[in-house]
């Protein structure tokens, strides 16, 4: 029977409703999806919320044909469909934007878009046709993308736009978004949300995977919460509170509030004196930066991404050369010392790129626990490692810091982001540092782990640790910091007392408005 189908602006038919019924997916030792029911309809943005490892990505990979379900079925507009590969799902009008970019680095935007599509003049590529269509889509959705640009030359935000273009180009009656904002700045997030809303308005169905509550509320119509492979519940977004969702996600009462008890502030642990630094192209990246961090104090560094936060952390860690100025740790000048010397002097560093700089992915949890200190007793005896002590040490940290891992011998790459971050935090704090630099400690980390990490930072503060907290999450800065430094273009716009500044004032400083330093 032929019915009049609604069409998308691209001319492709809409997907009125996709239903996943009783989906079960098992992996060795893990029940990733346990009888999950889920559905989404045209014009709707349906959030899939859950902590890392709750089974969100697995469910979506089943829908996209990357995994085959062990049980259950998928109905498309009421008819059961079999999706064996992305080829099938693309044929059904299902597209997916992955958490990690699925782009071929050394070819152009147009080639990435054309990959896997039939050309209008097979076997030759029709990149001119593809480029024209990309420009059309760019204009329509306000996505600034140059079809001729090579991916490896694009910024992160631009790459995300290419991913969206790829989906739009294929019609994407149903678009699965797997944590699409994880790598975007707040402004970029707002930009893509506009596009997602526009798509929904046009009749696309969207599934939005996230564990960021704010984004769920900003974007979605309905929300389904997963925990440990099961559906906890599905709600209309307008009818739930943040707190309710957080509790559903974690499975217990979680606190979104942070209590920062008064602490006796001690001596200056870190002092920067007119520090300047330049990048490889000899452009200044830090200008006349001076401040100090004292014992028992968390100093937050706020700023829009790329305004000098990373060079600042790396200067202190000995990874970036200080061009002029001095750096003191506990009164000793340690300017331009090697990272090893800085660690020895009592510095601990939680790097921004934890998978890249913080751990060795293929090493076990226990091995990653001793990355800096393996050479010193008690981890080693002479030239030999003391495996027994290393194992005990790892086991203690795993339980103390609540790291969820099958065993201490599990390779770190198999852990979730939150647990890796807990591992790094555990390792760094176990070294009893004098100064901790925590760069984006909870980015990409689920809510439960975030709560735990924040609690640990505050706990250490209570014990007199000096912490420099670098974060692009203003809520985090506000929640934890005693004083806040705002960086803009590598310069300090002001150093303010947390209790005497509003988020609005911080926002202005982050945009480059200078305020007299308050030390």
């Amino acid at each position: 029977m032929m019915t009049e189908q609604h069409l998308l602006p691209s001319g492709l038919p809409r997907i009125e409703r996709v239903q996943m019924q009783g989906i079960v997916k098992r992996f060795p030792g893990v029940l990733a999806n346990d009888r999950i029911d889920f559905d989404v309809g045209a014009g709707e943005i349906h959030a899939l919320l859950g902590e890392n490892g709750a089974g969100k990505s697995t469910l979506m990979k089943v829908l996209y044909g990357l995994y085959q379900p062990d049980e259950g079925q998928v109905l498309l507009d009421g008819k059961p469909i079999e999706v064996h590969s992305p080829t099938d799902s693309i044929d059904y009008g299902i597209s997916m934007i992955h958490q990690h970019f699925m782009l071929v680095q050394n070819i152009t935007v147009a080639e990435n878009v054309a990959l896997g599509l039939r050309s209008t003049r097979e076997p030759r590529l029709d990149l001119d046709v593809v480029s024209a269509r990309i420009r059309e889509l760019s204009a329509k959705y306000g996505l600034q993308v140059d079809p001729q640009a090579v991916i490896s030359k694009l910024a992160v935000g631009e790459r995300q736009r290419v991913e969206i273009i790829k989906a739009l180009y294929r019609g994407a009656a149903l678009l699965i978004l797997d944590e699409p904002t994880a790598v975007l700045t707040p402004q970029e997030v707002e930009d893509v949300f506009v596009i997602f809303r526009q798509m929904a308005a046009e009749g696309h169905a969207l599934i939005f995977i996230s564990h960021k509550l704010d984004e769920i509320f900003a974007l979605t119509d309905r929300v389904t919460v997963l925990r440990d492979g099961r559906v906890v519940g599905t709600r209309l977004t307008s009818e739930v509170t943040k707190k309710e969702l957080a509790n559903m996600m974690v499975g217990r009462e979680v606190s979104l509030e942070r209590y920062r008890p008064p602490v006796e502030v001690g001596e200056a642990r870190l002092r920067l004196h007119h520090v300047n630094a330049v990048n490889e192209d000899n452009h200044p990246i830090l200008k006349e930066v001076s401040f100090e961090v004292r014992s028992g104090e968390i100093v937050g560094v706020a700023g829009v991404s790329g305004n000098g936060q990373k060079p600042l952390a790396e200067c202190i860690a000995g990874l970036q050369r200080v061009q002029s100025g001095q750096l003191y740790l506990e009164g000793r000048e340690l300017t331009n010392l090697s990272p090893a010397a800085m660690f020895k002097a009592g510095l601990s560093y939680i790097p921004e790129e934890r998978m890249h700089d913080g751990v060795i992915k293929d090493f076990s949890v226990a091995e990653n626990m001793i990355l800096q200190d393996y050479i010193h007793p008690p981890f080693s005896r002479g030239i030999f490692l003391n495996f027994r002590y290393i194992a005990e040490h790892a086991q203690k940290l795993i339980s103390d810091f609540n790291v969820k891992t099958p065993s201490r011998e599990t390779p770190v790459k198999n852990l979730s982001g939150g647990n890796i971050q807990k591992l790094i935090l555990a390792r760094e704090l176990a070294r009893r540092p004098r100064l901790l630099i925590a760069a984006q400690p909870t980015r990409g980390v689920d809510i439960g782990a975030t709560e735990y990490i924040h609690a640990q930072l505050l706990e250490q503060r209570g014990q007199g640790l000096a912490t420099l907290l670098i974060s692009e999450d203003l809520d985090e800065i506000k929640a934890l910091s005693d004083r806040i430094i705002v960086l803009f273009n590598g310069e300090i716009m002001g150093i303010v007392d947390n209790d005497e500044v509003t988020v609005q004032e911080l926002g202005l400083m982050m945009a480059g408005e200078r305020r007299a330093p308050v030390i």
Binding site: L66, T87, H100, I107, L115
Partner: protein
């Protein structure tokens, strides 16, 4: 009477020899370029060349039909390529080792077949040098200098040089070429767009192997017109090196193959001319050049990112 050698004659000799010697390298290395661009390092080229050389020769020896011989060589290459594909793509074996295994298989098998089917070194009438005769009395091959360089090679030599732009076109301008490049660079991304990663790699490896088979045939039924055991004598490995030398681009491979062949021709002249260079040094020249070129640092950036990395879905 003594033979007077002018510098021009020597240069001409070097160029002519260089072009001829480049033929097998071009087929093998361009073929290997396809395999490597798809992410598969096939070190078995040498073995495939031997099989191609043998079957090409045997077919011509038995039937006298050159085209049939060429087809047999390509067919032998296809079979060898499928073996490589099964082992390294389906079973995801370490590519370096499976390639060496394939080489030893090709070497042993071609030796065994030679003994049982031919037994002794024989000759055939292979592809002869074309002369491009416009009229009965005038042939382009007789044009001084140009004729020697451009109009007096065998069909397979022209084929080898035509293969280069063809391969560049396929890789850069066709949808299949885009798939090959993507699969060698980021198979996960290609897979997520519905590209059959294993299928593309199978096809690229097999095409490369077919060309390696033709490379072998270019020796046994075009350049030498004999078959001898292990007659490729390491050419297949040089071909693999040429792919690196050429930065995985057909035109780069062309430059490398010509440079290697011309230097090889040059070293022969160096010795013939009694230049005061020990024969060992002369013999080393092309290899030294290759090593120097391979040592250039920028090449690594051009290497397909997924080269030698097997792909299986859902691992990230």
């Amino acid at each position: 009477m003594t033979h007077e050698l002018t510098l021009a004659a020597i240069l001409l000799g070097i160029i002519h020899s260089g072009i001829r010697l480049a033929t097998p390298y071009l087929y093998a290395a361009v073929g290997e370029t396809f395999a490597q661009r798809s992410g598969v390092l096939n070190l078995g080229v040498e073995g495939i060349m031997l099989m191609g050389a043998f079957f090409g020769f045997l077919t011509v020896f038995r039937t006298g039909n050159l085209w049939l011989g060429l087809a047999a060589a390509a067919g032998a290459g296809v079979l060898m390529g499928l073996i490589m594909s099964v082992v390294s793509i389906t079973f995801q074996a370490e590519q370096g080792i499976s390639g060496i295994g394939l080489y030893m298989f090709g070497l042993g098998m071609s030796n065994l077949l030679f003994k049982s089917m031919l037994g002794t070194v024989e000759g055939v009438q292979g592809f002869s040098e074309l002369r491009f005769c416009v009229t009965d009395s005038f042939c382009l091959a007789d044009v001084p200098v140009l004729g020697d360089i451009f109009f007096s090679h065998s069909l397979l030599t022209y084929g080898a040089f035509l293969l280069v732009p063809l391969a560049a076109w396929v890789l850069n301008k066709t949808t299949w070429g885009l798939k090959i490049r993507s699969v060698g660079q980021n198979p996960e991304a290609a897979d997520s767009l519905g590209v059959n990663v294993a299928g593309v790699r199978y096809a690229a490896v097999t095409l490369g192997a077919a060309l390696a088979g033709i490379a072998g045939a270019s020796l046994s039924i075009s350049l030498l017109n004999i078959y001898q055991e292990n007659m490729t004598n390491g050419m297949g490995f040089i071909a693999v090196a040429l792919v690196y030398f050429g930065s995985w681009r057909p035109y780069g491979v062309l430059v490398g193959a010509l440079l290697f062949s011309v230097v090889n021709a040059l070293q022969l002249w160096v010795q013939v001319l009694n230049l005061n260079i020990p024969s060992d040094v002369a013999v080393m020249m092309p290899y030294v050049l290759t090593i120097l070129a391979l040592a250039l640092p920028f090449r690594r950036q051009l290497q397909p990112a997924a080269l030698t990395k097997p792909f299986s879905r859902g691992e990230s």
